[in-house]
């Protein structure tokens, strides 16, 4: 079967978009199939995201816009999968593209139809709080920005066709069925949140002021129905007392909800409480939770800040019942505190922290794609490769395999792309079409000949701004040789007109006065490039979103403003100059630092794509942190997996292994790194160059100073206990084993959770009970953080009779020693003060960063560390494996404490991100970067400090002495350096000082 160099991605949430971008950038044709009418998934509905409180829309829409217009990504919306056949390397998928009843190629998303449609339907995006027309767009910043008709609600009255000037409404548009031939499939359909059924005990659906957390997210959102004001649905008042209930539909054994833990509710409830308080200080949130599962990077700090800075009250109990106070519509909550008191309290509003279910069409998708589902209805995945489904060639990422948060979803999205490379790497670049463009006309030296195209945009501009007057005015401006107006400048036929006018008038600058450049600039830049003009000889004047639409009631002022904006655009256009994108050749080899599981998985992934990899390990043999781990909680045999990995790495001809190696020097930049390493017992030097670096240096287990560790034989760590259990049976005659959690984690020194100690403790406890059922096992914990499907084992542990006792942070257990036996004195929340005799004390020690090594390597790579000395990634949510400096990636424990399967995903993800560079022999770098005028630069070093991307360094120049020099490959063109430069020595192409100066002085 001939392999196909294309990939189908099912579901265009943040996971699907990231996979498509990675694959699109690596030379595959991508068919992105979305079931709704816009990409963005649940993340687009969120107001802010934890743990950084970034506004979700700000950080996701640039990625969605990029996915929408990526040259190699074929996006089809409103689709349904009909049938799948074939096998890994060559699948054929029959897809039904349901009609939108509007032609997406013509529709400009202006929204006139939506505003005139007489029918009102329930706005699913706003979770039913608001209503919108039957002709709708999913949300204002939807990608692609096209309208669709919701057939069930539409009564077919024909008003929208009447008002649509672009004639985009086509009622007779049929559904289309198409067969797509791809080499691999990635499933990213996301999840559906748990909705409490009728007559549920929370009163959801009956009491107006009981809402689900996703509804509350829309209430919080600045672009939501209440414009960001926190109001309660019953009477629009600000709810002063808001109760957040955890584990609704999760950790639920009554059969109504799901038995597993949905992993993210603890965090998003805390975030919603924080943001609600931030929006309205009157709001006083209280969160009813069992365990607080803040296990991710910087999650614990977020919870502590929520409590201390925002005054969020946490009550550890599960609500028994909610009743509504009829006249005030408040809600009376009955709950039992830990020490047994029953309390009733009135709240103005209740938010249900609903869990995550598999997507409603999970069974349908599983049957069509022939993949197995696990006992909870999620996609069944391989223990040691969490993106590999049961069918080879088909991968799953995001919440479809297990409830997870956005950083993990994005990591798995890249990991899935990483796995696709392993199958289809030979077919890279076979199905993508390089556009053939005419040679650029040489415009330097010509006087500016500017063409202005003013747009009516149907009635959106023409209705409020006197477009003919603006066009007439534009033609009077100096250097403007042609001014023209059209109904829809962005329509396909007008692109042709623009090209004709460029030839006819020998234009060397083009201005379009219409809508926002954020979405339309690339479209026009492509058009003028196809007419032979350099892309950057183009400027837009935003006279719709920032003029006609916002000054509807003041037509004269709007027209005058439009004229001013056109004049400013013409002034800037006069000073536009062609910019060419810099091409950099790429050494298609890679380097992996650290030989633990992450390092080895990454190296093997590269090797399977015949990319030469240099694996540098500081110790004498490979293995890293996992050397003394035997099994995963889910039963995976780690030692066997590790041995197999080490053999593969050693035997693979594409992997050069350097053990007890030390990096002597590592310099260069993306695509062109040069490293020299001193390795081996004889300290030989090895030098090699490579295009990308993956940091997988891992971390160390915390060596406790407390709890008498090291002074008593029977005080051991979990890792040591696991070794004892799996090697000999010295603990046969132990009567009572006591485990203490959070040793060295979640304290002032290490204010974070090490994520894997609860899992290790329960694994070992179950093993002890299996081997020696008579031994009594007690676990003293602060929070049991067995997130996701690991909850199953926590329940099994309790069934096996393992005792769990909670203690507070401020009074930890104390160890009293009388001769050889130990006594653990602890003040438990539920059972008061206890003193437990034990003959084996096990400490669940956390993970700490290897401080010095990280610091040294970080300086060499010029990448940042966070305050816990783990590596700081470029963006916690959307670039979890990249560094701000291009070409360098991170994986495994070096990034933050995580479990083995997370590390494996992150390793594959890092490989996929690196392949977006290594898959090309030369990469094109953003043209609008900074440029230095060496004669003006005095070498004060201010810009070097201000640059977040380490793109500037001071060099000794023969003529000008110590001056700054810009590395075009790393510069993003943000201008932070030029803003502070006293001598105006730095300028930003595309936004030069002269251009901005001319826009300022355009004031009349």
């Amino acid at each position: 079967m001939e392999k196909v160099g294309a990939v189908m991605v099912v579901g265009a949430g943040i996971g699907g978009s990231q996979t498509s971008l990675d694959l699109g950038d690596s030379g595959y044709r991508v068919y992105l199939i979305e079931s709704t009418t816009s990409i963005g998934g649940v993340m687009a509905q969120l107001d802010k995201t934890f743990p950084t409180n970034d506004c979700a829309m700000c950080i996701v829409s640039p990625k969605l816009v990029e996915t929408g217009r990526h040259q190699n990504i074929d996006l089809s919306i409103n689709c349904e999968i009909l049938d799948v056949s074939g096998e890994a390397g060559n699948f054929t998928v029959k897809v039904k593209k349901k009609s939108l009843y509007i032609n997406p190629d013509i529709c400009t998303g202006c929204g006139v139809c939506g505003r005139n449609c007489p029918v009102e339907a329930i706005d699913i995006f706003n979770e039913g709080i608001a209503r919108y027309a039957a002709t709708f767009v999913k949300y204002p910043q939807a990608v692609p920005l096209v309208y669709a008709i919701n057939k069930e609600c539409c009564i077919g009255c024909g008003v929208c066709a009447g008002v649509c000037k672009a004639k985009a409404v086509e009622y007779e548009r049929e559904d289309e069925e198409v067969d797509i031939n791809v080499g691999s499939i990635v499933l990213a359909p996301g999840f559906d949140e748990f909705i409490p059924q009728q007559a549920n005990k929370y009163g959801y659906g009956k009491y107006k002021n009981v809402v689900t957390s996703i509804e509350f997210e829309r209430i919080l959102s600045a672009s939501g129905p209440y414009a960001g004001r926190v109001l309660r649905p019953s009477d629009g008042d600000i709810p002063e007392k808001v109760a957040f209930l955890q584990c609704i539909g999760s950790r639920d054994y009554t059969g109504e909800g799901q038995p597993y833990c949905s992993s993210v509710c603890c965090m998003y409830t805390a975030k919603e409480a924080v943001i609600a308080h931030e929006h309205q200080h009157e709001v006083k949130p209280t969160i009813f939770s069992m365990d607080i599962r803040a296990y991710g990077k910087d999650f614990d700090k977020y919870i502590i800040r929520a409590q201390e800075e925002y005054g969020i009250r946490y009550i550890r109990s599960r609500i028994s019942s909610i009743t509504e106070v009829s006249e005030t519509k408040d809600l009376k909550l009955r709950y039992e505190t830990e020490d047994g008191k029953v309390i009733e309290e009135d709240y103005n509003m209740v938010v249900l922290g609903v869990g995550l279910n598999p997507p409603d069409d999970a069974k349908y998708l599983a049957e069509k794609f022939g993949i197995e589902l696990n006992e909870f209805g999620f996609a069944k995945t391989d223990v040691f490769n969490p993106v590999q489904t049961s069918r080879p060639g088909i991968f799953a990422c995001g919440a479809f395999s297990q409830p997870k948060d956005i950083p993990e979803t994005v990591t798995q999205a890249s990991a899935a792309a990483g796995c696709v490379h392993q199958i289809l790497y030979e077919k890279r670049g076979t199905l993508i079409t390089e556009k053939t463009l005419p040679p650029e006309i040489f415009v330097a030296g010509q006087p500016p000949r500017i063409g202005v195209f003013v747009c009516h945009c149907g009635i959106n501009i023409g209705g409020y701004v006197d477009v003919p007057e603006v066009t007439r005015y534009a033609s009077t401006l100096p250097n403007v040789v042609m001014a023209d107006r059209n109904l829809y400048t962005c329509s396909a036929d007008t692109q042709g007109i623009i090209k004709e006018k460029i030839e006819e008038y020998h234009l060397n600058r083009v201005i379009v006065a219409s809508c926002t450049p954020r979405t339309h600039e690339p479209l026009f830049q492509e058009t003028i490039r196809e007419a032979g003009l350099n892309r950057y000889l183009f400027q837009m004047a935003n006279i719709r979103d920032q003029c006609s639409w916002v000054h509807m009631k003041q037509p004269e002022e709007a027209t005058q403003k439009a004229k001013d904006l056109v004049r400013m655009a013409v002034n800037k256009a006069r000073r536009l100059a062609p910019i060419d994108r810099i091409k950099l050749e790429v050494t298609q080899k890679s380097m992996v630092i650290g030989g633990g599981i992450s390092g080895m998985v990454a190296a093997l992934n590269f090797a399977s794509q015949e990319i030469e990899t240099h694996l540098v390990e500081k110790e004498t043999e490979l293995g890293g942190f996992a050397k003394h781990i035997y099994h995963t909680l889910e039963g995976g045999d780690v030692q066997a997996y590790l041995k197999d990995l080490i053999e593969q790495v050693k035997s693979n001809k594409f992997v050069h292994v350097y053990t007890n190696a030390e990096i002597e020097s590592l310099d260069g930049y993306i695509g062109n790194f040069k490293t020299s390493v001193i390795h081996g017992p004889k300290k030989e030097r090895a030098e090699f160059d490579h295009g990308a670096v993956i940091v997988a240096t891992g971390a160390k287990e915390y060596k406790p100073k407390e709890f008498l560790y090291g002074q008593y034989k029977n005080v051991v760590l979990q890792s040591e206990l696991e070794e004892l259990l799996n090697t000999d049976s010295v603990i046969k005659n132990k009567k009572s084993v006591v485990m203490i959690q959070c040793v060295g984690s979640r304290n002032d020194e290490h204010p974070y959770c090490s994520k894997m100690c609860c899992t290790e403790a329960i694994k070992n406890a179950l093993l002890v009970k299996k081997l020696y059922p008579s031994t009594e096992v007690t676990i003293l914990f602060r929070d049991i953080r067995t997130y996701g499907f690991k909850e199953k084992y926590y329940r099994k542990a309790r069934e096996e009779g393992i005792i769990f006792l909670r203690y507070d942070e401020d009074n930890p257990p104390e160890i009293i020693t009388e001769d050889s036996s130990l006594n653990v004195k602890v003040k438990t929340a539920k059972a008061g003060d206890l003193s437990i005799p034990t003959d084996l004390l096990v400490l669940s020690a956390g993970i700490v960063a290897s401080h010095e090594e990280n610091e040294e390597l970080a300086k060499m790579l010029k990448v940042p560390l966070n305050d816990d000395n783990f590596y700081l990634e470029a963006h916690v949510k959307l670039r979890p494996v990249d560094f701000a400096t291009e070409g360098i990636f991170v994986a495994g424990l070096a990034h933050c404490p995580k479990t083995i399967e997370d590390s494996i995903s992150q390793a594959n993800a890092a490989v996929s991100r690196a392949c977006t560079i290594l898959s090309k022999d030369e990469i094109e770098v953003e043209g609008k970067t900074a440029v230095i005028d060496m004669s003006r630069c005095i070498g004060c070093g201010m810009c070097v400090e201000n640059c977040a991307y380490n793109a500037i360094e001071l060099i000794e120049d023969r003529h000008f002495g110590l001056v700054a020099s810009i590395n075009q490959a790393l510069c993003k063109g943000c201008g932070a350096c030029s803003g502070n430069c006293r001598c105006s020595a730095i300028d930003i192409l595309g936004f030069t000082s002269e251009q901005i100066y001319s826009m300022i002085t355009a004031r009349l």
């Binding site: 003006r936 004060c940 201010m942 001071l954 110590l962 006293r982 001598c983 000082s993």
Partner: protein, 336 residues
Amino acid sequence: MGIETDNKEIISSIRENAKLLLSENQVDVIIGYSEGTVPLSSTPIIIRKEEDVDKLIWNNLCYINLARYLAPLMPQLCDSEGNSLKIGIVAKGCVGRAVNLLAVEKQIDLDNIKMIGFNCNGIVNRSKIDLEIGEKEILDVSISGDDIIVKGHNWEKKFPYDQYINELCKVCQIKSPSATDANCIGECQELESIHDEFSDIAEFESKSADEKWAYIKDALQVCTLCYSCRQACPMCYCNLCFVDQNMPTWFGKTTQFTDIFTFHLIRAQHLAGRCVACGACSSVCPVGIDLNIITRKLEKIAKERFDYTSGLNAETIPPMMDFKMEDEEEFMLEED
């Protein structure tokens, strides 16, 4: 103990240290002050040989900040063998600060600099004396006890030192250079930070906007944009100042008030967190404009907003080259 005796002690300690440096040829040249060629001034001097050491003097008219001569040209000079020149510099407190800041801004290499530190006892406010003398020609200026004696053709006037000392020197807390003894001999200190209430400009800051504008307009009205303040400032070492730039020409150089005002405003913006409060700009101003309140304001901004005092050492990154997530942003517009 009057000013006169202080000056003598300082002169002797400077000469002694200078002789020591030259004799052990730790340095190739020494920059210092010498007698002024015209009354009420002093002249910078560069000496190479031990015997010229006696030309070095210190009196309360040494207002020039000698660090001005370190950048931008000095680093390029080199001795006969071609390695860069080892420079000694007579350093009062503010000169020491300027040297540290120039080092942070990579204009000079501290290893080639050797400061001769001493406890500065302040400089005289020249323009105040000039104003009071008025048209009469000054023939000689000398200091006796705690008074400044100014003599002319058959007239003489005594000015008590404590009333005519420069305001900046009155509130100055860094009398001697803050540097390690690796590059400073004589009176040196190692300061971590200083505490300053800035009460002297509090009165001006409490004025209303119009009063402040009126004061500034009146003060700067006489400025002829001769740029001597820029030439005297150790921190203004750019080889193309913003007023001289074209493509685009940001600001005009006519003597309209708006051009005068924008020059002083932008220069103040550039000196925030960098000005070392040496007062040279006010001392050299031919038309006697008092820029000291602006200097004090710049120091206040650096201290209160960024907890930074310029020139205490050559390591801490100045405020404009750094940022913190929790910087104050009380000035940001918020919805009410």
